[in-house]
Structure formats: structure tokens, C-alpha cells
Amino acid sequence: MNFNCPPHIRIATGLLGTLLCVASTMTLAAAALVLPPIVQPPSAEHHAGKIIWVDLVTPNLATAEKFYTGLFGWSFQDLHSGSRNFAVAMLEGRPVAGIFEGSAPSSAQRQSAWLTFIAGDVAAAKRITVAHGGKVLFEPHVYAQRGRQAVFADPQGAVFAVLASSSGDPPDLLPAPGEWIWSSLITTDPGTDAAFYQTLFGYDVFDAGGDDGAEHLILSTDEYARASVNAMPEAGSRHHPHWLNFVRVRDTVQMSARASALGGRVLVEPRADRHGGKVAVVADPAGAPFGLLEWVDTQSKEATP
């Protein structure tokens, strides 16, 4: 092979190679974010209506990691895509949440929040949500490893996501301390919202009305309780329907205090709940609210089919 090219040809070829190299690198960096699978190793299980994942958007990833590591012992796999930073929170080698770094929009008063992902048919969810007066906030997209997902606002404005996981759904096991155990939809009209979610996911709806006279409903599939739907407390003037997710803890009082010590805030002091254990609501340093819930291993009882 003859490599005796004139110098200007060699320079031009080198320049061309460099340009193509830069272009390829930028294109790869610009490719859609690669979201990891939610179940590792993959499973063949599917549980429509189950809350299977949560994502957080926060202004400072390092601050969030420090807080959640200190509180629950989560470790983090940091991932980068272009200029975007995000991390997968792990507990004992299992993925438990995703955390994205992103600035809050300056146009409106907004706060960091955990986004609730419910297992289901994304296309059907879009159709039903729109038909019932809800909104599509993020159109259905397929992410190779995670699956197909979209983000919606229900007819009363609560934001939620639907995910058809390509790695299957997590098995129906009792979550360990430090894992998500429960979710509540706090809304203005529980009955109407329960009907909406029942249409979406085929929930069985149980009336678990409390002593306060407020409407409290339980949503279930596969004979397991998946979430509650609660009337929004009347006190207070600033309300917005939302999903609230709970992490299982051994001691709600102790963990609330720890959340405060780590830079969070206690929004609802520890209190006895329906199951006898205590719950509390706290906010992380960026203001994202989540719940703490005690649960004893022997508490669950099989329901009468």
C-alpha cells in the first residue's frame, strides 16, 4: 500500500477524521438518556396497578444523595448523559429509585417532588386520561432498558406516570426497611378519582372510611392493597392533589428526627395510623415530600377473596 500522499492531503484527511470523531462523540452524548431497567435481573412478572418505581427531580444531586444515604442507607450509581446528571438509588444491590438533577422552572412556584410510576398499558392510559379530562404531561416514550412510559395529570391535577417495564415488574414481596412500601393519593374528590384510576388499572376499590368522616378508599389488584385514596384535609388553604409515597422504616420517630438532622423537615409528626404503626411525612432538603411508615413483618393478613 502506498502512503506517499502530498502533505496538504494528509493534513486535510487528519482534519476530516478529527471532525468526524467529534461529531460522533457529540451525537452519542446527545442520544436519549439511557434509563436502567427497574428490575435486575429481569422478571416475567406483571402487576397492573402496582406502584413499581419512583423518580425524583432535585436541584442538587449531591445534596440529595447525601440525605438519602444518611437516612436509608441507599447507595448510588451515578450516571451521566451529556450535561444531565442522574443516579439510581440502590438498596442491597436492588434499584429503588431514580434521582435526576434539574433546575426548577423560574416561571412558576414549583417544588421538587417524587414522581409515582404505576404499572400499566401506556397507550390505554393516555387514551383514558384524555377522555376523562386529564392531561398528558409527557408523551409516551420507549426507553430501551426501562420500557414505555408517559407522565399524566389526573382529572384533579395529581401528577403520575404509567410504565410498561421491559424488565418486568418487581415481585409482590414485603418491602424491606428502606424500600418503598405504600402510596397515597391525596385529592379533592376521592370517589371520582378512584373511579378514574379504576378505569385505568382495573382496581378493586374498598371503602375504608375513617372515624373522621372523610372518604378513605383502598385500591387493590391481585388481592393486594396497592394504594389509598384520601380526601384532602379541609384545613389549610394551599392544596394541590398529589401522590405521596412512603418508605418502610423500623422507627418513625427516630427516622423523622434523623431526616431533620440531615437537613430535611418534618411536615407531619409521627402518628399512629390505620395499621397500628406510626407514619410521618417529611421533606428532603429540596422540599420533596415523602412518607415514613412502620410495618411489622407479621402485620399483613390474607384477605378473604
Binding site: L19, M26, A31, G102, D172, L174, H216, S220, E302
Partner: protein, 101 residues
Amino acid sequence: MRTFMRRLIASACGAASLVILYACVAGGGYGDGAEVSYGADFYEPFGYEYGGWGPNYRVGPPHGGERRPEHSGGAHPHPPAYHPAAPSRSVPSIPSRPRGH
């Protein structure tokens, strides 16, 4: 030969520039193609209020197996918007099987 090489290099440079331009436009979003900011879209409206939780305000999961209140399953003054589970069914609980069993 020299003219051919110049044209070839010019064409390749043009193609590379287009790829770079595309990369700049498409980059960084939590979506594929358009510039979509995950954070901007999913910061929720500010103003959660938790101060109004009275002593009987209950959000947690049931034990399972409980009988439901008397007014369940059809004794509402108005039929609920949802289809209630049959009154004979007790309220289920969360999964009880621990990991590794």
C-alpha cells in the same frame, strides 16, 4: 485528482457539520429528539399542605382481613362514582412474603 480530493473533503466536512448541528439540537433531554427538560416538566405545583391532618386522618395500608364499615358497599346516600368491591370481600393488605422466602 487534487480537485476530486478537495471536493470529497469539502463534502465530508459539510456532512460532519450537519451531524454536529443535529447533536447540538437534540442533546441533553429526557426524551428523544426534542429538547425536553425533565426537571422543568415535573417539578410539581408548590403548596402541599400537611397541617390539616386530624387525629383520625389515616393514609396507611390496612392489615387485611378487616370488616369494612357499615356504610360500605351501597349504603352511601349517593352511589359512588367507582364500582365498589363486593361487600362480602374483606379489605386486602400489602404483600406479606419477605424477600428470600
